[in-house]
């Protein structure tokens, strides 16, 4: 504490400028990771050549094909899904007042997993390509899980405790149903289900990236419009109400929006753990809790985490691609452990 403190407005503006710099650094790291993601794989490509190819100045047809047809959809999907999961995790942690909240907490991802498994099993009976049926079913059941929780909250009030309990009921319901499907599945179908549940970017196409990116771009302004109200929610429900926030309506609105975002993201890539949990914590440590900065930062660091995990998944075992869900979990567990220890020892 200084005897003559700086003017509070100047100090606050300086803090905001630092937060913008942090976001800019995050974006630079993300661009670097994105380039590395394009360059790594069974054929390691020089990054300058990759950049030239992206800028339309490439001369090698083989490199062009690898970059544009094979790796670009995957690298873009890592960014779009990572940003979606980071953003949804930050919103979930705020509206549920729970540092362990993510899209998994309320059973949204479990619903998507069950939907995908059901589509894989019933795929032969549906006259549509599996690449369309599985994501559609995953999204529908993520939406169903969201509807169950939101419907129950409409009846009893959208308190964090009630939302979490409803979500856990939903989580166990869909996990039990998923286990039942796995028990009934043929070995081939079981293998497909397990592979979907691992989470993978390998199935990505530019069309899918467009869908995830569009929903993400539509969600961001809607969430940022409520940024100050979400920030007020960090002071507790009663104080937020006293400040004029319609707490239940805000919580339900944000929950439905991030459930939609989660549903779209996991529908195409499967369940990818820890990004939605860890990215908001990293963002909060770096930019604080003003949601105008926290939400974009959580999206940036979520995208960075998943993009870096995508690079790592190709480097762990040369010649093979590790399922990205395993890589994010392997990275996420120590990070989460460190966060838990840090919070226990914090003053």
């Amino acid at each position: 504490m200084t005897a003559f403190p700086a003017d509070a407005i100047i100090a606050w503006r300086a803090a905001n400028s630092r937060r913008v710099v942090v976001m800019a650094v995050g974006i630079v790291l993300l661009v670097a990771s994105f380039a590395a993601d394009l360059a790594t794989g069974p054929a390691m490509l020089p990054i300058p050549e990759v950049v030239r190819s992206l800028l339309g100045m490439g001369t090698d047809p083989m490199l062009e094909a690898i970059v544009h047809r094979l790796r670009l959809p995957i690298a873009l999907m890592a960014v779009a899904v990572g940003a979606s999961l980071g953003l949804t995790g930050a919103v979930m942690q705020t509206i549920l007042n729970n540092p362990l909240a993510s899209s998994y907490t309320l059973g949204i991802s479990a619903g998507a997993g069950f939907g995908a498994a059901l589509a894989i099993l019933a795929g032969a009976m549906i006259p549509l390509p599996p690449a369309l049926v599985v994501p559609a079913a995953a999204f529908l059941f993520a939406g169903l899980a969201c509807s169950l929780v939101a419907g129950a909250a409409q009846l009893r009030g959208a308190t964090p405790e009630f939302l979490v309990l409803s979500g856990i009921v939903c989580l166990f319901l869909f996990q039990a149903l998923l286990s039942l499907l796995q028990f009934l599945a043929s070995p081939e179908a079981l293998q497909q289900i397990v592979f979907w549940l691992f989470g993978s970017l390998m199935r990505a196409s530019l069309g899918q990236v467009g869908v995830v990116g569009l929903v993400l771009l539509l969600s961001i302004p809607l969430l940022l419009r409520d940024a100050w109200q979400l920030t007020a929610l960090r002071l507790g429900d009663e104080r937020a109400r006293a400040l004029g926030v319609q707490v239940d309506a805000l919580r339900l609105r944000a929950f439905i929006l991030v459930s939609l975002l989660t549903g779209v993201a996991v529908a195409f890539v499967g369940t990818i753990g820890f990004v939605g949990l860890v990215a908001p914590h990293i963002a909060r440590m770096l930019v604080g809790e003003d949601q105008r900065h926290l939400l974009p930062s959580a999206a940036i660091f979520g995208a960075l985490l998943l993009s870096a995990a995508s690079v790592a998944s190709k480097l762990i075992m040369p010649g093979a691609v590790f399922p990205i869900g395993i890589v994010t979990s392997l990275i996420g567990v120590p990070v989460l452990g460190w966060l838990v220890l840090r919070s226990r020892t914090a003053p």
């Binding site: 504490m1 509070a8 407005i9 100050w228 002071l235 400040l243 003003d290």
Partner: protein, 252 residues
């Protein structure tokens, strides 16, 4: 703003917390609500603030609606928001994504008015209970309210800050013609700083009037179950000296 409350009742499940209370509060007046624990003071205030459902009518007249500042009793905070940001949130109704200079100045000036400018950059969760109470008081004041509903705003403050805050509230109430309703536990502070007092007992109004009218030995015995001696202080306000619980054996 003038407040008129008629037939106010509030219940939690089957338990009646406030039972058919009528009261009035006027601009430029500090109204203190006193009573034992569980007598319905905080429930009444929450209902008046509109954060708890209730029966009966609550009418604010003669002012801009939505200009009622409510400060809850709970001062716990796990947030990393800084004191300045918490006070700025007091301006939530006018805050735009790109914050207006008028809102920033209001937050800064209120921090100065409450005497906590030096806390501006500190995260709220790292402050002491008393410091948080001052920050939340500044948050309520920063909105430029017409009426204040304050639930034990000095409960965590040391004696110096208690006196300063109560003097600030009294002078702001009189100079800005605020309607201030404050729940207090400190009978002597209420006697000195309130213009009128409402005594609550078992969810009902057990007495009201000026401090000298409301703070009688008989009313205090009925509301608190305590024998007290009431004197006249140097400034004419009553001074209450608690003697013994009514049900205690002969006290020393």
């Amino acid at each position: 703003m003038r407040l008129s409350v008629r037939g106010f009742s509030l219940r939690y499940g089957v338990r009646v917390a406030v039972d058919r209370v009528d009261l009035q509060a006027n601009p430029g007046e500090v109204l203190a609500i006193l009573g034992a624990n569980g007598s319905g003071k905080s429930s009444l205030l929450r209902g008046l603030a509109g954060v708890q459902r209730h029966a009966g009518t609550v009418e604010w007249s003669g002012g801009e609606p939505g200009r009622v500042g409510y400060m809850p009793q709970d001062t716990s905070a796990r947030s990393q928001l800084t004191a300045f940001e918490v006070v700025l949130l007091g301006r939530l109704r006018s805050l735009a994504f790109k914050v207006d200079v008028a809102d920033l100045k209001a937050a800064r000036d209120t921090l100065e008015e409450v005497g906590i400018s030096h806390l501006a950059e500190r995260p709220i969760r790292e402050l002491s209970g008393g410091q948080r109470q001052l920050v939340f008081l500044a948050q309520v004041l920063s909105a430029g309210p017409s009426a204040l509903l304050l639930d034990e705003p000095t409960s965590a403050l040391d004696i110096t800050h208690q006196l300063r805050v109560l003097a600030l509230l009294r002078s702001a109430t009189h100079s800005r013609r605020l309607t201030t309703i404050v729940v207090l536990h400190d009978l002597n502070a209420a006697a000195r700083f309130a213009d009128r007092i409402v005594m609550m007992h078992d969810g009902r109004v057990a007495g009201h009037g000026t401090p000298a009218e409301a703070l009688t030995a008989e009313t205090l015995r009925r509301c608190y179950g305590v024998e007290v001696a009431v004197f006249s202080g140097p400034d004419g306000a009553p001074v209450i000296l608690p003697l013994r619980p009514c049900d205690a054996d002969a006290a020393p």
